[in-house]
Amino acid sequence: MPTTKAELLQGTLDLLILKTISAAPMHGYAIAQRIQQRSDDVLVVEEGSLYPCLYRMEEKGWIAAEWGKSENNRRAKYYSLTRAGRKQLEEETAIWERVHRAITLVLQTA
C-alpha cells in the first residue's frame, strides 16, 4: 500500500516519540514501527531524522537510554521516559490539541 511520506515537523516527532515510549521502553526501530502502525501507515518516520532526534531528547533529559537485549537476542539501546519527559509530553499534547482545535475551527467556517 503506498504510504504518504507526510512531512513531519521536528516538534511533532518529539511528541510522537514521547507518547510511544510512555507505555514501555523501546528501541529505536520499535519506536518507528509503532508510530507507523498506530497511525495506520500514514505517518512514516524519516529514519534519518529519528536517531538524531532521540539523541537530542536524551541530551535534554526527556528520555533515558539503556543497553539491553532485544527480542531476537541482540544488543539494542532501549529508551524510556523520564519524569521530565512525562511533563514535556503533557505540555506538548496540550499545545497540539489547542492547535488542532484552532485549525478545525477555521476549517469549519464556510
Binding site: G28, Y29, E47, G48, Y51, P52, G61, R74, R75
Partner: protein
Amino acid sequence: MKLMRTIWLRIRSLWQRREVKQEIDEELRFHLDQRTEEFIAAGMSPEDAAREARKRFGNWQSVREECRDVRGASFGEGMLRDLRFSLRILAKSPGFTTVAVLMLAIGIGSVTTMFGVVRAIVINPFFSPNADRLALVWSKEGQTVSTLDYFDIREQATSFAELGAYSLQRVNLGGDHPESLGSASCTPGVLRAFGVTPALGRWLEPSDEQKGAPPVAVISHRLWQQSFAGDPGLIGRPIRLNGANVTVVGIMPADFEFCSPWLYPYTCEIWRPLQLQRDQVGRDTGWWLVMGCLKEGVTLAAADAEIKAIGARFKAAHPNTNARKPFLVSSLRFEMTRYSSSYVWMIFGAAALVLLVACANVASMLLARSVRRHGEFGVRIALGATPGQILRLALSEGLLLSLAGMIAGAGVAVADVRVLMFLAHVADNRKAALVLDGHAFAFAAGLSLLAGLLAGFPPALAALRISVADLLRTDSRGAAGSNTRHRLLRGLIVTQIAVAFILANVAVLFSASYAKLIEANASLATDYVLSAELNLCGARYEKNDVQTRFCEQLAERVAALPGVAAAGFTSQLPLRGGASRDILVNDEVFDPAAERTVAECSEVTPGYFAAAGIPLLQGRTLRAGGVGTNVNDVVVNRALAEKCWPGKDPLGKIIRPNAAVAWFQVRVVGVVGNVCRSAGEPKPPPQMYWTIDRAWGKNTFLVVRSQRPGGTLAPVLQHSIAELDPDLPLSRIRTFQTMVHEATQDSRIVAWLTNYCMIVAIGLVAIGLYGTLSYHVLQRTREIGVRMALGASRRDVVHLIFRQGFGWVLMGITIGIGGALAVTTTLRAMVYEVNPLNPLSLTAATGAVALAAAVACWLPARRASRVDPMAALRCE
C-alpha cells in the same frame, strides 16, 4: 540534574570517543538489520532487502555524522580541523605570526621565570624534609637567647621535637691555600632538626659537647669536593682549623642547605660542637641562636604561646635580666623570606601585567586581521555553522599562537633565568632550585592556554556578531560587526596603555629609590679605600692583649707602606650591622624594665677614622697605644650625641653600661660623622667607637686608604701580614666601592627588573597603538578622502589622526592613574626615601608613555596624510 547529565555525556564523549562512536554505529546497524529482516520476511531476496533498507534509512553517513555531532563526539576532530586551518592561515602571513609569537613568548617566558623565582626563593627557600616545622626561638625581636634561658627552655618546652643552640663564626682553614670559611658552633639538636642524614660519617653527638672531648667537625659537601677532592678517606682524618687539628667525623649531603638569619651573604661550611657551660655564668650571658623542629601536629602559634608563657616565668623569676624579654617563636621559612618576599611577588605581578599587555596586543592584531576573513565567517554561518563552531574556529588561531609562544617562551625563560643568576648573588643550592623543571613547564602550558584564550576571545566575539544579511552588501568596510570590533579595539588599546602606565610608574619609583640610595651612600663608595677581613683565631690569639698588639702592629706597618694614606682596624664595617649595647647616660640608672639608648659598638684602632673617611666633627679621635693613652676614651657619632645630649656639648660626658654593675665607664672625647648600618637605612643609628682591646670577637676588618685606586694594594697587604703570621689568610679584599655596590645589589636588581618590565610593556603598547591606528586609518580612508577633497590640508589630517591616537592615550592614562595610585600605596614600604604619591613620578611615567605613543602615531598619521582623495573615494 539535567546539567549533570549533559556534563556527563560530554565528558564521556571526550574521554571515550571511540566507545561512543561504536555505540552509535551499533545502534544504527541494529535498526538497519531489523529493517532488512522485515523485508526478507516480506519476501525480498537478502541483497534486495539490504539495499531497500539502506535506501529507506537515507544517507547513512550523514545520519551518523549528525548523531555524533549531537553527542559532541566529533569535537576532537572538529578542533583538529580548525587548528590545521588556522595553521595554514597563520603560515600565509609569516610577519604577523612572528611578531605575535614573539610578544607572547616574552610575556609567557617572563612570567614562567618569575614563577621559578617565587618557588625557589619565597615558597621553598631551602630544602629540608622538615622545612615546615623548623622554627627559631628569640628572646626579643631579633635578639639572641642567653645560655641559662636556653637550658631552661630546653627542659620546659614540649612543642619541639629537637632543639639546639648555635652561633655563627668565621674560621680559618689551614693547608696549602688557607681560606676563611663560615662556620657554626652548634649543639647536636640543630643538625638533627634539619632532618637529613649525613652523606658520610655521623652527626655531632652529645659526647662531643663534653669538656675535654677531642675536637671534631662536620664539613659541607661543597667544601669536601673543592678542598679535599671528594676523598672518602677524609672521615677520621684531621684538618687544620684555626691552627689546631680537628678530626672530620661527618660530611653533609650535597643538597643540604643550612639556613639561618644573619648568615647571608656567607654560607656555612663547617659545623663544630658547641660546649655550653651551665654553671658559673650569669643569667644574661650567652648570645645564642636557638633553632628547633616542631613536633608533628604542633602549630607555630601553639609553640609561640608556650614559649611566651615560659618567658613570663623567667621574667617573674629573674626580673633583673629578663624584664624586657617577651620571647617569641618564628618559623625559619619566615625569617629567610621576610625581606625578599614582597619584592619577588611584586616583580611577579609586574611580569603578569606584561603578559596581559602582550595578550591584549595580540588580540587587537587578530581583531584587525579578522576584517579580511569577514566574508569567510559569513559564508560559514550561512552554511549552518553553530556559534560554538565559530567560537572554536576563532579561538584556535589564538591557541596556536600561544602554543608557539609557549615553546619560544620556554627558551626565553631559560635565558632569563641565566641572566638573573648572573645578576643576583644567589647561593649554589638556590641556583639548582631555580632550574626550570616539570612544574614550571606545566605552569607555562597552563599560562599559554589562558593567554591563547584571552588573545583569541575578542576576535571570536567580533566574529559571532556577524550577520549574514549585512555581508551580502558589497560595502564590506561598513559591514556589521565593525561596531563591536571598534569598541573592542578601543577597549584593548586603552587597557594596554593603562597597564603600561602603571608599570612605568612602578619602574620610575624604584629607579628613583635606587638613585636616592646611591646618593645617600656616595660618600662611602670610593675606590681609594680597601677593606679586608681577618680572622684572628687559634691558640696564638687566645689572649686579648696579643690580639690587640697584633692589630696595632699591623696597622702601623700597613700605614707605613708606600702609597698608603691611612690604615686602621675595626670590628664592624660600615653598611654591616654588628654588636650593639644598651647604654646609660646622664643620670639614668639601671632599671630592667626601661628602654635605654641602644648604641652600636665598634672596636677600632685610631687610624680607622682617617682610613674609612669618617669625618671628625668635634674633639679628637682615639689615641694610639703608649704614653697618654686612656682606655676609657670613646668617640661617638653625631646621631648618638644628638640623641643623648641634644643641644649640649657632648665632650666629656660619661657613658655607662645598662647593667646592675657598671663594668665600664667611658668618657666622650670626640664626635664623628654618621655611618649607616645597612644601605637602605633611613636614619643612621647611634654609634660609639672605642679602643680595640675591648674587642671580644675574633673577626676584624682592616681598612686601608691609599693614594691610588685600591686594587693594586692587595698583594702588598698579603705580604705584610705574612711577615707577621704566615698562616693567617686575608679574605674578602674589596674596595669600599665594591662594598657599597654589593650592599645595594638588591635594590639595583629590583630597579633593573621593573625597568625591564616597563620597557617591554611600553614597546608592546607602541606596536599595538601603531597597529590599531593603522587599522583605524584604513577604515577611515574614504572619510579622509572626503575631508581632503573638501579642503583639509595634509597637516589637518595628521592632526586628526594624532587626536584620535592621543584620545586613546589620555583615556588609558586616566584609568591608569587610578590603578597606579592604588598599586604604589601598597609599595610604600618597599621604596627608600621616595614618596610613592609624588607627582614627579606620575609625570615621568606619563612622559614615557606619551613619547612612545607619539612615535607610534607618527607613521599612520603620515600615511593618512598621503591619501589621494580621488583614489580613496573610488576604491570602495
